[in-house]
């Protein structure tokens, strides 16, 4: 371990969400939401086919987000539904955005891969692998200046571990002692490429340590462990010691909705899906004396919540055509002139 990695966080932050029950509930919400997104797609109500589900990765989103607090900011990759939900997103507005509807977080302009909400500190999901990572360096500079102890967290996949921009960003974060955390959700695949087909350097956290960050890897099976490891790194980041966390998990389904993963064996998938953080947490709760009935009650409430999100999205309107010229520039700036208007002027000439 590097010297920084060994320093203890100076003061422990209160851990309001640390109980397993809350973590389980959040993970179940993420899973059920993702299952419903799949349904939205099947019903022809989603905008496009580029839907990336985070089933199997719930502990990464929920464990890390539980260690964050209001005021913190974050960016995500294209598989970010679970992270946003775990930071408090409204499933209705999320589902509507995924459906490309006016009532969505971004009025139907962004969709699944470009969802954001400044109110919740979500600086944006990204369809460019690695595209959202450097923003946390900038947000970290702003947090540091503001001096309120807020941090900024970048969530990305293992695929982004091979993009140069990650290393430029980590280096700056370390150089300037920024309150920043880099979280790699290592689901073993980038599309059809297994991580060992993309790199020979498998101890991902060592790369971060080489730049002077605190770096850890945690098994995503146990959400409590993810949460605790994340909490240590988050607490350190608040004091200006940037960190990196790799969460090991498995992408249960295809890369996107259309992908049936022909490039991997069924046995491998079956094995991978045994690493189920939701079922693992459920078993732990039952072991601690919670009844099946109680947990079924939790699950049923969540199912209703997410059904309502589908209904909300389906019932919502498409954006008005005129809205397409809005928000290219600031609110008081003139909108770009429609092509039709420009053609009219050319043809009106006599």
């Amino acid at each position: 371990m590097t010297q920084t990695a060994m320093q203890a966080a100076p003061e422990a932050t209160p851990r309001p969400n640390s109980d397993l029950r809350a973590l389980y509930t959040q993970m179940r919400r993420v899973r059920t939401f993702e299952e419903r997104v799949g349904e939205l797609f099947v019903r022809g109500q989603s905008a496009g086919s580029m839907l990336h589900l985070s089933i199997g990765e719930e502990s990464a989103a929920v464990g890390v987000c539980a260690a964050m607090r209001e005021g913190d900011t974050f960016t995500t990759h294209h598989r970010g539904h679970g992270i946003f939900l775990a930071r408090g997103a409204d499933p209705n507005r999320m589902m509507a955005e995924i459906g490309g509807k006016e009532t969505g977080y971004c009025h139907g302009k962004g969709g699944s891969m470009h969802i954001a909400d400044m109110g919740l500190g979500h600086l944006g999901a990204n369809a460019i692998v690695g595209g959202g990572i450097p923003a946390v360096v900038g947000a970290g500079i702003a947090s540091k200046r503001a001096g309120k102890g807020d941090i900024s967290v970048a969530f990305f996949g293992d695929g982004a571990m091979q993009q140069g921009i990650l290393y430029e960003s980590m280096n700056m974060a370390a150089l300037w002692d920024l309150p920043v955390l880099f979280v790699c959700i290592n689901n073993q695949y980038g599309m059809g490429t297994r991580i060992d087909q993309a790199t020979k350097g498998h101890e991902l956290h060592l790369r971060a340590r080489a730049f002077g960050l605190r770096g850890e890897t945690v098994d995503g099976l146990d959400v409590t462990e993810v949460r605790e490891t994340a909490q240590d790194l988050v607490d350190a980041a608040r004091t200006g010691q940037p960190g990196f966390l790799a969460v090991d998990c498995y992408r249960f389904f295809g890369h996107a909705r259309m992908d049936k993963s022909p490039y991997r064996k069924e046995e491998e998938e079956a094995l991978g899906r045994q690493k189920d953080p939701v079922l693992h947490a459920r078993a732990a709760l039952i072991g601690a004396g919670v009844t099946e009935d109680e947990l079924d009650g939790v699950d049923n409430d969540i199912a209703r919540e997410m059904d309502a999100a589908i209904d909300f999205a389906v019932a919502s309107q498409e954006p008005q055509l005129a809205s397409m010229f809005r928000d290219v520039y600031g609110p008081d700036e003139p909108e770009p002139e429609p092509v039709r208007t420009r053609i009219d002027r050319v043809l009106a000439r006599e």
């Binding site: 905008a47 496009g48 086919s49 580029m50 490309g100 509807k101 139907g108 302009k109 962004g110 969709g111 699944s112 891969m113 470009h114 990204n126 369809a127 460019i128 692998v129 690695g130 595209g131 695929g159 982004a160 091979q162 993009q163 140069g164 980038g190 599309m191 059809g192 490429t193 087909q197 993309a198 790199t199 490039y263 498409e318 954006p319 055509l321 809205s323 397409m324 010229f325 290219v328 770009p336 002139e337 429609p338 092509v339 039709r340 420009r342 053609i343 050319v346 043809l347 000439r349």
Partner: protein, 324 residues
């Protein structure tokens, strides 16, 4: 004659080029085992092996940079960029390296590589996966640019690109992969660098390329039903640009319209329109009109996406008003 899709034709071109010349290899994300994000390279790894279909990590800048080096070292790389929207990540390697090496080094060496990619709207893929960025390429001297519209051209332009002494950016259209046409790949096509006149008429000339060729042809058909006859020119390559064909048609007909899916401002249509206006001024009865993409990002909303690029209706109406 065989029925073939645009996707099949691209694959056939790669297959034939690789069989003919063992210096040719493909390098990019998901090109081998997965068979390409849009299935273009499907099956080629079984035929040619993983040394010639190199699956890469997600590292676009290095993919293009490696292709530059391989080309300088005597190989013939076909690098694949999954979406043209990622071109920004490779722009230094493309714009500062590939494009300038021959010139900067006094003509000692060229960079004969092909960068295959795809762009355009049609899949509700959102702002970062739907763009038409050909103007970025056209604005860089040293880079060639091909954009096939037909199945036969998917084949022949890709074969042609691999015979060039210089880097070629080859932009396919994501909405054309399933286009199926009867083709005879041994039948002659216009040479590399020559435009194709896809339809001939006396009332106006529509200059276009890539998917908008099909849009323009559809509009031309509707115009013919209304008594207006349009020439439709498919540019095939934008660099080299076959301005002779454009000039001859515009001088003959006296009216021109340019159709492009890229955004209107400072786009390919702007360049073409300026050039026609300047060089054919004395022959024009009317101003050259551009029908192009709106100056906005592409939304994921299906309705907004469709309205962001030229529709058949807009092309037809504009043509009617221009001729009236």
């Amino acid at each position: 004659m065989v029925q073939m899709t645009y996707r099949d034709a691209l694959r056939q071109a790669l297959r034939d080029a690789m069989a003919e010349d063992d210096r040719v290899f493909v390098i990019g994300e998901e090109v081998g085992r997965y068979g390409g994000a849009y299935g273009v390279t499907k099956g080629l790894i079984e035929e040619f092996g993983s040394d010639r279909l190199m699956d890469t990590p997600i590292s676009e800048a290095a993919i293009v940079g490696a292709a530059v080096g391989a080309a300088m070292a005597g190989l013939k790389p076909v690098a694949e960029l999954m979406y043209v929207d990622f071109i920004g990540m490779t722009m230094d390697q493309l714009g500062n390296q590939a494009a300038k090496i021959r010139y900067m080094f006094g003509g000692q060496i060229g960079v004969p590589m092909v960068l295959r990619t795809q762009g355009g709207t049609g899949r509700s893929a959102g702002a970062q996966h739907s763009q038409s960025l050909e103007a970025y390429v056209l604005h860089t001297p040293g880079l060639r640019l091909a954009m096939p519209a037909t199945v036969a051209d998917a084949y022949h332009l890709l074969r042609g690109a691999l015979r060039q002494p210089d880097p070629v950016v080859f932009i396919e259209h994501k909405a054309l992969y399933t286009l199926k046409e009867e083709v005879d790949l041994s039948a002659p096509v216009p040479d590399w660098g020559k435009a194709a006149i896809r339809r001939k008429g006396d009332d106006l000339v529509i200059v276009t390329y890539s998917r908008q060729v099909h849009n323009a042809l559809k509009a031309a058909e509707e115009l013919a039903a209304r008594g207006i006859e349009a020439t439709v020119i498919d540019l095939r390559t934008l660099n080299p640009l076959d301005f002779d064909t454009i000039r001859a048609e515009v001088e003959r007909v006296g009216r021109a319209m340019v159709v492009s899916e890229g955004v209107m401002t400072a786009g390919v249509a702007a360049e073409l329109s300026a050039r026609i206006s300047e060089e054919c001024f004395d022959f024009l009865h009317d101003p050259v009109v551009r029908v192009a993409g709106e100056d906005i990002p592409i939304s994921v909303s299906v309705a907004l996406e469709a309205a962001s690029v030229p529709t058949t209706a807009l092309v037809r109406e504009t043509a009617e008003r221009l001729v009236a």
